[in-house]
């Protein structure tokens, strides 16, 4: 082990695990899956894992991905932003100006999610390993053909029914693609727009205020613009250009620009 003198064996194992994950990132089913895999490297019962250490592991996984230029899907980055936030909540003394649940509560819920996912995987494996019809035990192989009474019954499945309905109802719904496109904002468009504006705001501003004119009233356009703007703001958080926060589940998402000097990694 020629690596880092300054690393504890745990930290080193975590870093090596993060590196190993990168190779196989397409094999994961989302950030929770990655977290569970990382949690297993802590070699303790899931109930005893350190969420703080786990957050570190995940953030180094994301940093590693960036170092080798692997494009991670947006939800991996959302998780990274969230874990960076969680980490700060766990490390810093409670800030009375920030409402909502404590870092410990958030950590406990994440631990619950991981334990629940692990439990579901465990029972899924037990289910699939059961004796199964057509493999381990069998139904009668010969249908009885005793009666000559032939009665025809007509049958259809629920799927047939729903597909039939969908077929009818969507017949006249198909329109040229362009009609839909002008109601869709891409993340690139939002990013470009935000980069131009970001220097001007040092105060917390609602995400909703960033939506361009003409994208605020029509629900479809608003939804698309909100999604794109939010995704773009996460990208900017990642780049250290802005900060983002939300005080509660239903509270508005707030954004503010970050002085260039403080630029750096949120992790």
């Amino acid at each position: 082990m020629g690596h880092g003198w300054d690393e504890t064996p745990d930290a080193q194992a975590g870093r090596l695990a993060a590196e190993a994950l990168i190779v196989d990132v397409d094999g994961f089913e989302g950030p929770l899956d990655v977290l569970l895999t990382l949690a297993r490297t802590q070699k303790v019962d899931l109930r005893q894992i350190s969420i703080l250490a786990l957050a570190e592991q995940y953030l180094s996984f994301v940093a590693e991905a960036r170092a080798v230029r692997i494009e991670l899907a947006a939800d991996y980055l959302v998780m990274a932003a969230w874990l960076a936030y969680l980490k700060s909540r766990l490390l810093l003394p409670p800030d009375p100006t920030v409402g909502g649940p404590s870092g410990e509560e958030l950590a406990a819920h994440l631990a619950f999610q991981l334990e629940r996912l692990a439990a579901m995987r465990d029972v899924a494996a037990r289910l699939m390993a059961r004796d199964r019809l057509g493999r381990d035990f069998f139904a009668r192989g010969i249908g009885e053909d005793v009666a000559q009474v032939r009665r025809v019954t007509w049958t259809a499945t629920l799927l047939d029914l729903m597909r039939a309905y969908a077929r009818i109802r969507t017949r006249d719904e198909f329109r040229p693609l362009v009609l839909d496109r002008d109601r869709v904002m891409t993340m690139e468009q939002a990013l470009e727009r935000m980069r131009g504006l970001i220097g001007h705001t040092g105060t917390w501003t609602e995400l909703a205020a960033w939506l361009p004119e003409g994208w605020q009233s029509d629900p479809v356009r608003r939804r698309s613009a909100t999604a794109a703007t939010f995704a773009a703001s996460l990208q900017l958080v990642k780049e250290g250009r802005i900060e983002i926060r939300q005080a509660g589940a239903d509270a508005p998402v707030l954004i503010r620009g970050r002085p260039p000097a403080a630029g750096g990694d949120p992790g």
Partner: protein
């Protein structure tokens, strides 16, 4: 399971075990099974002929018998109970497209008149289609509509809910849900211009649902 009696390399299973094996094989086989085939499938050293013979005696007088079919063996319902098998002889056929579409419209729009069904389908609904659905006991007449001519309406029945495993017609998913659950292709119907949405990869989010 080791048998202490003999140190043989291929120990045949005990008689009772051989009988169980023959029983399971005859039961699951999709056609009558010959002794040769039984022999090939049972462990080395088994005696399928006497296993089948014991099985035949065991089922003597029961609701099913072990019978000889040519040089093979099979389970058959006891001849005196053939009258119980009538429901097994039912032949099922799939509903025609016209019928399933009509049924779907009634389920989603009930109570609905024939004229309304035709408007939604875009083609006329034949008398035979409605008759067939009534015959199946999947639809029935509902209240008359309070519009000129007071046309009859159609609604779905309990038997319909039963057949399709629904608690109520309100449990039918809407179009958005169908699409969100991946039950719907967004592909246009064959023959239509190639418009619509581009094909999505598996697992791709529906970011911008309609």
């Amino acid at each position: 399971m080791t048998d202490p009696r003999e140190p043989g390399l291929f120990e045949a299973p005990p008689e009772s075990e051989q009988e169980r094996m023959a029983e399971a094989i005859l039961f699951a086989a999709s056609e009558p099974v010959t002794l040769a085939e039984l022999s090939a499938r049972m462990p080395m050293g088994s005696d399928p002929a006497s296993a089948v013979e014991r099985l035949r005696r065991r089922y003597d007088g029961r609701g099913v018998h072990v019978v000889r079919v040519g040089d093979a063996w099979a389970f058959r319902t006891a001849p005196d109970l053939g009258f119980l098998m009538q429901r097994e002889a039912v032949e099922t056929r799939r509903l025609s497209r016209a019928a399933i579409e009509t049924l779907a419209i009634i389920a989603y729009h009930q109570p609905v008149t024939r004229a309304e069904i035709e408007e939604i389908r875009g083609v006329s609904v034949s008398r035979g289609t409605i008759d067939q659905l009534i015959e199946l006991d999947w639809i029935r007449l509902g209240r008359r509509k309070m519009t000129p001519g007071r046309p009859v309406t159609f609604v779905v029945t309990e038997a319909f809910l039963d057949h399709f495993g629904l608690e109520s017609a309100r449990d039918l998913p809407g179009l958005k849900e169908l699409r969100a659950a991946g039950l719907l292709d967004n592909r246009p119907p064959p023959g239509a211009l190639s418009l619509g949405e581009p094909e999505r990869d598996d697992g791709q989010p529906e970011l911008f649902g309609k």
